[in-house]
């Protein structure tokens, strides 16, 4: 083997090593970041001001959503704590209702939320959940609510990821805003002796 051949082989090996390292870095670059715990939305609190002050709700959430896609560029967005989006929704509802004085764990009226879909991608997000208000065995509100949003995707990955995290918490607030401003929900009083709202 001539000296140039040896040099070429060494160069090829070095380049291959570099390429493998780069590929490994790219593949391992998908990191997971948890969103912060849910925080009260001023708009939601204003909406809940229209719910009669005496109204109290317990909260349950069931099942993890089957359709979860939460990846912004190389960032996988996850729910805080145990990573359960269903638990995150439960915490979100309890936070809003507690802050407005409408939460009571032993209340007759139970707000049952089932998260159906969580999509957070680069530049768009979509969330869907079914909300049922039951008073003992009577269903007085039952609706599937869906919200979506989109935003300008940032050129820089770090800004895109930061936007994705903010938009994730924001879309949960938006979903609850849709619930709290729904006239059907506002009329779903403990006692549930009013019109049943189902869609």
């Amino acid at each position: 083997m001539t000296p140039p051949d040896t040099a070429r082989r060494r160069l090829s090996k070095s380049l291959a090593g570099l390429a493998l390292s780069a590929a490994a870095l790219v593949l391992s670059g998908c990191v997971t970041q948890q969103v912060l715990p849910y925080q009260v939305s001023v708009a939601n609190q204003m909406a809940l001001s229209s719910v009669p002050r005496a109204a109290r709700y317990g909260v349950t959430t069931v099942n993890e959503p089957a359709d979860v896609r939460t990846v912004v560029r190389s960032l996988r967005v996850s729910a805080p704590g145990n990573g359960s989006w269903s638990d995150y929704l439960n915490h979100a509802i309890r936070t809003e209702l507690s802050t407005s004085g409408h939460y009571a764990p032993g209340a007759k009226a139970i707000l049952e939320a089932t998260l159906v879909e969580v999509h957070v991608l680069d530049g768009k997000a979509e969330l869907a959940a079914r909300f049922v208000v039951k008073c003992e065995e009577t269903v007085c509100y039952d609706k599937l609510l869906r919200v979506n949003t989109d935003w300008d995707s940032e050129f820089l990955g770090v800004l895109a990821a930061s936007n994705g995290l903010n938009q994730t918490t924001a879309i949960f607030q938006t979903l609850l805003h849709k619930l709290f401003t729904d006239p059907g929900f506002r009329q779903s009083q403990p006692g549930c002796d009013r019109t049943t709202h189902v869609s």
Partner: protein
Amino acid sequence: MFNIKRASALAGAISVALSLSACMTPHSYVDQSLGEPHYADLKKPASPQPIQLLVEFQTKGVANARATEAVRPRVYEQVSQSGLFSQVSYEPVSSGRKLSISINNVALTDNLAAKGFGVGLTFGLVGTMVTDGYICSISYVESGHDAVTKVVKHAIYTTIGNASGPAGLQPMPLQQASDTVLRQMVAKSLEEIDQSSDIAQ
């Protein structure tokens, strides 16, 4: 073989880059339209009442959980020190009174990333100034009354690289500018809500 010429050139380039990097330090300037708070001027109620405080920080209209966490205790402290309320709580109060403060950070200068990239490429020789707008919406809610809402606006100007700041304003670090803007906006909002609502009755 070790190349003295190339090594010297590289060392020179690094030195120039390091010396120029001082130009990259951002300088912030707070708009002078609001000024410092004067709590003594507030119409203090004879019998202050407890209030529930709600605080939210948004970036371009979207809730920003991390920023909310950071500003909430400072807003709480400021509202408590205003003397307008007997007690400030994040929990509901029996009277149902609420004070909500929502701050929205909006960029008043477009294409920040591109400008910053240009400044970086030239090691600060080409400077730029960006303006951050802040919109503070304050609402006072009392049972049996219409909500009273006021809006206060503020701004921070930040220069990066070889750019001069607005005339007559003092440069300061960004953190100090953010603290100043928050303090001045909340104080002005409290003043406006005090003048337009029944808090002092």
